[in-house]
Symmetry: D2
Amino acid sequence: MGRGAQRRPPLRTVGELRVRYGDTDAMGVVYYANYLRYFEAARVEYLRRLGQDYRAIEASGIIMVVTQTACRYHLSARFDDLLTLGCRVTGMRRSSFRFEYDLRRAADDARIATGWTEHACLARETLRPVRLPAELARAIDAFEQGG
Amino acid sequence: MGRGAQRRPPLRTVGELRVRYGDTDAMGVVYYANYLRYFEAARVEYLRRLGQDYRAIEASGIIMVVTQTACRYHLSARFDDLLTLGCRVTGMRRSSFRFEYDLRRAADDARIATGWTEHACLARETLRPVRLPAELARAIDAFEQGG
Amino acid sequence: MGRGAQRRPPLRTVGELRVRYGDTDAMGVVYYANYLRYFEAARVEYLRRLGQDYRAIEASGIIMVVTQTACRYHLSARFDDLLTLGCRVTGMRRSSFRFEYDLRRAADDARIATGWTEHACLARETLRPVRLPAELARAIDAFEQGG
Amino acid sequence: MGRGAQRRPPLRTVGELRVRYGDTDAMGVVYYANYLRYFEAARVEYLRRLGQDYRAIEASGIIMVVTQTACRYHLSARFDDLLTLGCRVTGMRRSSFRFEYDLRRAADDARIATGWTEHACLARETLRPVRLPAELARAIDAFEQGG
């Protein structure tokens, strides 16, 4: 937790979601793969906060594929729990960047799951890496520094 | 449907699948929507038996969209149950047809879920109805009458 | 469709949901089984409007299992579409009842999918049919007639 | 990657699975969260090879919860691809262990996704850590060394 860590932008709450019955499994808690679906909800809401629309990015011919992910499970979420979606972007490079996530139970702010996804920007047609759209990079920078 | 109904082909077993943990919900049984995923597995295996490949059909520019579905739940399937996939095609018309399904527990042949899906053949580009591919219609006829 | 049908309560909007990327399939639209997940979201929100909590019902030892369902697909929903969840209860009997659904695209009120689920109330332990909890039945009646 | 790494058991193929249409997303490839569902299929098949039955373990009052996971996406799997499930257990400790996975396209052995899950053994009632069942630990040891 040196100086570098202190400069990382805080994770900001970008939205909420409700755990559905279909997200749970026979243990009575959310199935482990479904947290990655919640991460997706978080990053889409993050982009919306920026005034960016993932659909518009795709329509412009650029796709942002997930190249790696990791998730740590702290406490189990249950059916009908309301979760807050914490999110930030770190590690922006020429054609890749990372989202970090922090999912909490809204009722008591208990940490449920944390994790990250690494994304590469590719041209939809050629699947070759392309530069992060300039407007998106600027919007992320402004958002993260405005924290 | 009169006498025709008596001539409906039997549901034939076209494959098997294993219930995954992620398919269950907090009641300890398969979540109700997931039987529609199993129906999909059944119809893909049915087509494979016919020597038809759904991917090839799509590649030819035709999509088979589901326009209606219904499902009746008889007994709950549980994690790790092996299910047999019964399937047949009925009601072929110019640009639509119906799959019927019968999912059973392999261990004791107990009926788990039955249902059907109604499909329309559309041109991928225009989304206009198109005639069922002739080769597919012939293959289905031969398969159902060869029962 | 006699007079009885005319007295059916209208479908009321009980909530909204956003289509996630993970809900879509390779056709670029919501996978057909996922509409049943949306139906679940609708009925949970319906119960919340009534001041009923599905978790509390389950905690009291009663489960409401789906015995049948049907869905008709009108227009495809796409990633990031906002859908409105229309819902009502019809056909209340001693230990069963039916939810009806009408999912629409919020942007233009276009009908996306309609359907219903039939539910049986069972004792969690014995899986025997039990009477619909009186408070729930009263709350539904009041809500539907207050439309 | 010293001598220790050389002693890690190889990943053995424990089964196969077919990519379903419902596993894909609007990019035309398997949705990233669904590889975690495939990992689950791999570990269940791994245990079956050992003569262990995850259902029986749960019935004995022990649950194996996932505490962490990571996944690296190499190549996209597509609808109807047949995947081989490679799996091994590493890092067995008193009450935790790790599964590692290697999913490949059966047609050409191309690497699709690799990853791992970390599991803790808990008593179902108390959710306290418990020792890995001795028979399971022995079976894993024998299987991994018998490679």
